[in-house]
């Protein structure tokens, strides 16, 4: 559905995007994750045809977003960072206006209800809170009944409840077969929603995998921790296969490593016939994996 090949874009001398490639299947929720200034927004702006790439190819449903801009706008919904509406336009008018731009628009009333905007239909844009503006822009991205949608920092400014509701809305998009390109730096959001994630750092894709795959590929996928009073030596633990590090913090010994580390640790306990008090084995989160991939 969306294909980006070797995309380059520089602003003056600064390379914002430096050879990004990925492809998004129809009906997939594809995440773009990365630190501020990594080139995420520039990438999706090229996908939406709002910027012209210096080189490389972008196709959405087989169309060039710049050359076929008119047709792209009919099938691609966009929620951008840092855009506004006319200050005195009320929510209802904004939804009606944008719905009138499309041949087969979605039901804007249902969308407004879904996004909790139904109580604010007569409020002027300038009087909306940050979260309400954000939800209005999500509604505007979806009001055309798009086949694909670009959501740039979807839940920025939303309170926890609105965030959950918005995630549920995105999940329902998947159920409808809508392709979603999601820019985020909220790990929980990426982990929960995305089928696959591209991690972008300094204009390049540094990893592309499923959320579980990203966590798994990191050198520190598992974390073993237990009370520090066990007879096990730090050197002994560090020598376990796949072990990435041994630290003692807050009275607990923490060993990071892979599945192999966990297996070896369990047999080590059995062999030495010792127990590790308060033993916990946890998966590292996408957060840890992300830091690992972008550092």
């Amino acid at each position: 559905m969306i294909e980006v090949r070797d995309l380059h874009k520089a602003y003056g001398k600064r390379k914002a995007v430096d050879g990004v490639s990925f492809s998004v299947d129809e009906g997939e929720i594809f995440g773009i994750l990365g630190p501020n200034g990594a080139g995420k927004t520039t990438t999706v702006e090229c996908v939406a045809g709002l910027r012209t790439a210096d080189s490389g190819a972008v196709r959405v449903a087989g169309l060039d977003p710049v050359a076929d801009h008119d047709r792209i706008t009919r099938l691609l919904g966009v929620q951008l960072q840092q855009s506004e509406l006319q200050a005195k336009l009320v929510v209802r008018e904004a939804l009606e206006l944008y719905a009138s731009f499309y041949e087969r628009p979605a039901d804007w009333r249902a969308l407004a209800e879904r996004l909790g905007l139904d109580a604010h239909l007569d409020v002027r844009f300038a009087k909306l809170s940050g979260g309400q503006k954000q939800r209005l822009f999500i509604a505007l991205a979806l009001v055309g009944g798009p086949r694909a949608v670009v959501l740039d920092e979807l839940t920025t400014g939303l309170d926890p409840r609105a965030r959950r509701d918005t995630w549920a809305l995105v999940e329902s998009l998947r159920a409808d077969g809508v392709t979603v390109l999601l820019v985020t730096h909220v790990m929980e959001e990426a982990q929960r929603l995305c089928d696959r994630i591209a991690v972008i750092d300094r204009g390049r894709v540094t990893a592309l995998d499923t959320p579980a795959g990203l966590v798994g590929r990191s050198a520190t996928a598992r974390m073993i921790s237990f009370a520090a009073d066990s007879p096990l030596e730090t050197a002994e633990l560090a020598a376990l296969p796949g072990a990435a590090g041994v630290t003692i913090r807050d009275g607990r010994t923490v060993v990071t490593g892979t599945d192999a580390t966990v297996d070896a640790f369990v047999s080590l306990l059995a062999r030495r016939a010792v127990t590790a008090r308060g033993l916990r084995i946890t998966d590292t989160t996408l957060d840890d994996a992300y830091l690992d991939l972008t550092s």
Partner: protein, 253 residues
């Protein structure tokens, strides 16, 4: 221009929405639609302005202030009201958001031009009507010539505002430049001294400015003749040059 493939109803919806928003700006409405007539009425209340003056070919000061007030409406619409709106739409990403829809953001700009032109024309007609009803100012003797001159003047007024907006990157700068250009346009439109009452040399110079030329063209049509080729030529020149500058230099973001 709106995309040719966008539904006509969408372009119309943009115009309707912008008209509603226009109606929600009381300050703009007052300055464009009401203040020119207020200016005329205030001047008309001065008794000596209602007396024929030999210095003005037997005309009264108030006779000269009908076209002045009318041009004042055009200045307000084109230079004071419109540029901050257009610059704000660009600066706040409103044009950009619209460029991600099937409707081109040019539809927004077009709607704003149409609305400010309409407001200026309505205001101009109000000035003429009040001038006739309250002070007995004669209606233009050559209505066709007068209307043509008026329309050309409106085109020039909007082109000037659009050029200011195109050449200024931010709303703040556009407002500041608009104000800086405002005073010379007021002078050349004859707000302080009507163009026809200016000393000959000064008048000839002023008539090369867009509003000075408009003043002359309106005056000629009001007296029953056709606007002179020179006045029309000067107006057309400015309208074309300013429009070209606006189109060439306008940045969408």
């Amino acid at each position: 221009m709106a995309s040719t493939t966008a539904p006509v109803s969408a372009t119309r919806a943009v115009l309707r929405t912008e008209a509603r928003l226009f109606a929600r700006e009381p300050a703009s409405l007052f300055w464009v639609m009401v203040s020119p007539t207020v200016l005329l009425v205030v001047l008309g209340l001065i008794p000596s302005f209602r007396e024929a003056s030999p210095d003005l070919d037997g005309r009264r000061v108030i006779d000269l202030y009908v076209p002045v007030s009318l041009l004042f409406a055009l200045i307000m619409a084109g230079l004071q009201a419109m540029p901050p709106v257009l610059a704000g739409y660009r600066e706040r990403g409103i044009l950009r958001r619209m460029s991600a829809t099937p409707v081109r953001p040019a539809a927004l700009l077009t709607a704003q031009l149409v609305l400010h032109a309409a407001a200026a024309l309505v205001s101009a007609l109000l000035v003429i009507a009040v001038g006739r009803a309250a002070f007995g100012v004669a209606l233009p003797r050559n209505p066709t010539g007068y209307l043509a001159a008026l329309l050309l003047a409106v085109a020039g007024a909007l082109a000037l505002g659009a050029a200011v907006c195109a050449l200024c990157r931010t709303q703040k700068i556009a407002t500041a430049v608009g104000t800086a250009v405002f005073f010379p346009t007021m002078f050349t439109a004859g707000v302080w001294v009507p163009v026809q009452a200016m000393p000959d040399t000064l008048r000839r110079i002023v008539e090369f400015a867009p509003y000075g030329a408009a003043s002359r063209a309106l005056d000629e049509a009001a007296r029953g003749g056709w606007p002179s080729l020179l006045a029309v030529g000067v107006m057309a020149f400015w309208a074309v040059v300013l429009t070209a500058a606006a189109i060439r230099r306008f940045r969408w973001e």
